[in-house]
Amino acid sequence: MAVGVRADEWDADSDAGSAMSVTGSFESTYRSLWAPLVRLAWAMTGSRAVAEDIVQEVFLRAEPVWAEVASPRAYLRASVVNAVRSRQRRRLLELRHRPPGREATHIPEMDELWPVLIRLPARQRDALALRYYEDLSLEEVARLLGCPLGTAKSLVHRGLAALRRELGS
């Protein structure tokens, strides 16, 4: 099975004609965008299981309003970002009322950078995923995260600096 993981797979989807056109069916969009959305959510949450739950929820929420969605790609991506951030907020609230402990998160052993990445503060991890996995401009990162441009830049650069520090040590 061919597995594409770069953000440009969204390009391929868009070139697929009606599959990703404004009038694309819900089913065809689900088939073509499920995997890219799970990968984005995984990059942001650090957990594949959580990512699949989030994307499932996003599609379930999208189906009843599908006829109103003008730009499926952009709508679903924003929905995933919002769902991830909502979950992060809930996690913060839960953690405040729970004794400290390590969260059980699946860490692929195939890449030493991954565990460092998922230990970053959530906002930095989100910003890096949108910037370097989704390949979005900083302006778009700021829009999706709901922060000023300077804050988005700061998050990306502080995230990169943290990774560099960890890799160099």
């Binding site: 597995v3 594409g4 993981v5 953000a7 969204w10 390009d11 868009s14 689900y30 088939r31 995997a35 799970v38 990968r39 995984w42 594949r48 499932q56 599609f59 379930l60 309003v65 969605v69 730009s71 790609r73 952009a74 991506r77 924003a78 909502s86 992060q88 907020r89 913060l92 609230l93 405040r96 195939m110 950078l113 990445l117 503060p121 906002r123 995923a129 370097y132 996995y133 989704e134 390949d135 401009s137 302006e139 778009e140 700021a142 829009r143 709901g146 922060c147 000023p148 441009l149 300077g150 804050t151 830049k153 700061s154 650069h157 502080r158 600096a161 560099r164 520090r165 890799l167 160099g168």
Partner: protein
């Protein structure tokens, strides 16, 4: 290891790890909720109808309320209140987000931001090119300001400072391909014109500007050398031209200046964030007597302190706001050489992004989570006697800037998601403070 190396490594990590997700999704019918719906179509339809009806009613209520005002009480200030009311959006609102605002009076403000140059439908990877836009508020709503010669370059604008209705400065960066270059535009009372601005080697970005008068302004941002960490960037205007005047940056670490305030000519305070191999306080640089000096700010026990906004109503009197990880509002006050800090909010996910001051009173603005979806404006009168207050009936995606032309009236700007779309529109709030 250089920044380029880290970027390459990071892309490679995403590629390798995320490849474990197969392209083929599980069948739609296998989704648990969907299976339940298929088994109970009548119940599902009834539930869906009820939910949709609720959404419609809720949306109607929210839309109706947003045309009104959101009042939040501020305890400890003699029974006063902050009233935040959304006002007619300006042209930036067509598809962009307002990044900064500067008011000369309660009926004359300028907001700047950027809007996608291409079709407003976000592209596959988002629009790459932006056009800087300026909105003018005259008390009767917002309208677009005439742009003059802006050099034909795609640019985003992040900061603005107005000295009078005839003179403002806006700053930003070029967008699109190649290294970013600084952008400085000047309003002469009739139109905006691109002003020559210096650049250092690397990628140059200006995020904020402050003008004490027509002859003295400072713009700040950051410089990204190729393959190295970011460095503070600052440019000073002497009434004739802009010159590079960067504050010192430590060798090891990433510096970034986000905001600057200049209450008098020749004296400014700039804030931002700094990240290195060890926990670090935020960046604070003071400009006085023609040179920059780094100031010590008390180290916070919270990790990742970053200051996003500063306002100095007078020399040696400044208030800065920002965030500590994992996203709590932070305020710092500077009084004649001494910084004192406090965490402003225990709201998880809250951020303070900007602050505006009059003598003895400041108003900070930011965002805070609302329910499980969306964000709401966060307002706080400083010095803080109570936690920040949330304007619960105004939906925002970002609140970016605030300007207070009087002690009781402020204008705050930001962006708002539009319905089921991902396009943004500018949002403009009029904030009234009725506290004594």
């Amino acid at each position: 290891m250089t920044v380029d190396d880290v970027e390459t490594r990071l892309r490679s990590t995403y590629r390798r790890v995320l490849a474990q997700v197969p392209d083929a999704p599980p069948p739609l019918g296998s989704l648990p909720h969907r299976r339940a719906r298929l088994r109970r179509p009548a119940v599902a339809l009834a539930l869906a109808a009820a939910v949709l009806a609720g959404i419609v009613v809720a949306a109607g209520l929210v839309a109706g309320r947003e045309r009104g005002s959101s009042t939040v009480n501020v305890a400890g200030t003699g029974g006063g209140a902050i009233t935040a009311r959304s006002v007619q959006a300006g042209p930036i609102g067509l598809a962009g987000t307002a990044q900064a605002v500067s008011c000369v009076s309660a009926s004359w403000c300028v907001a700047v931001g950027s809007t996608p140059l291409n079709d407003p439908t976000p592209g596959v990877n988002g629009p790459r090119y932006y056009r800087g836009v300026h909105d003018l508020f005259t008390g009767h709503g917002w309208r677009s300001m005439p742009a003059g010669d802006t050099g034909g370059l795609a640019a985003g604008l992040s900061g603005v400072s107005c000295v009078s209705t005839n003179w403002c400065v806006a700053v930003g960066e070029t967008t699109g391909g190649g290294p970013q270059r600084t952008v400085i535009e000047t309003w002469n009372g009739k139109r905006w014109n691109r002003t020559p601005s210096p650049n250092a080697s690397g990628s140059n970005t200006l995020l904020a500007v402050a003008c004490a008068n027509h002859d003295f302004c400072v713009a700040v941002g950051y410089l990204l050398h190729f393959g190295t960490a970011s460095r503070n960037l600052a440019e000073v205007f002497n009434g004739q031209r802009w010159t590079l005047r960067p504050p010192p940056s430590p060798e090891a670490g990433n510096d970034n200046l986000s905001s600057v305030s200049c209450p008098t000519a020749g004296w400014c305070m700039a804030v931002g964030d700094f990240y290195s191999s060890t926990p670090s306080p935020p960046t604070v640089d003071r400009y006085a007597n023609g040179r920059w000096s780094q100031l010590k700010i008390p180290y916070l026990t919270h990790s990742g302190p970053a200051l996003a906004g500063i306002a100095c109503p007078a020399k040696e009197d400044c208030t800065a706001v920002g965030t500590v990880d994992p996203a709590h509002g932070l305020t710092e006050h500077y009084d004649h050489g001494t910084w004192t800090g406090q965490q402003a909010s225990d709201r998880a996910g809250a951020n303070l992004e900007a602050v505006a001051c009059h003598p003895h009173r400041c108003v900070a603005v930011g965002t805070t989570p609302y329910g499980t979806r969306g964000q709401r404006p966060l307002l706080q009168v400083l010095p803080a006697s109570t936690p920040p207050r949330q304007a619960t009936n105004i939906a925002v995606n970002a609140m970016n800037s605030i300007s207070c032309p009087t002690s009781r009236t402020c204008i705050a700007v930001g962006g708002q998601l539009q319905g089921t779309n991902t396009f943004h529109k500018g949002i403009y709030l009029r904030v009234e403070i009725t506290a004594p």
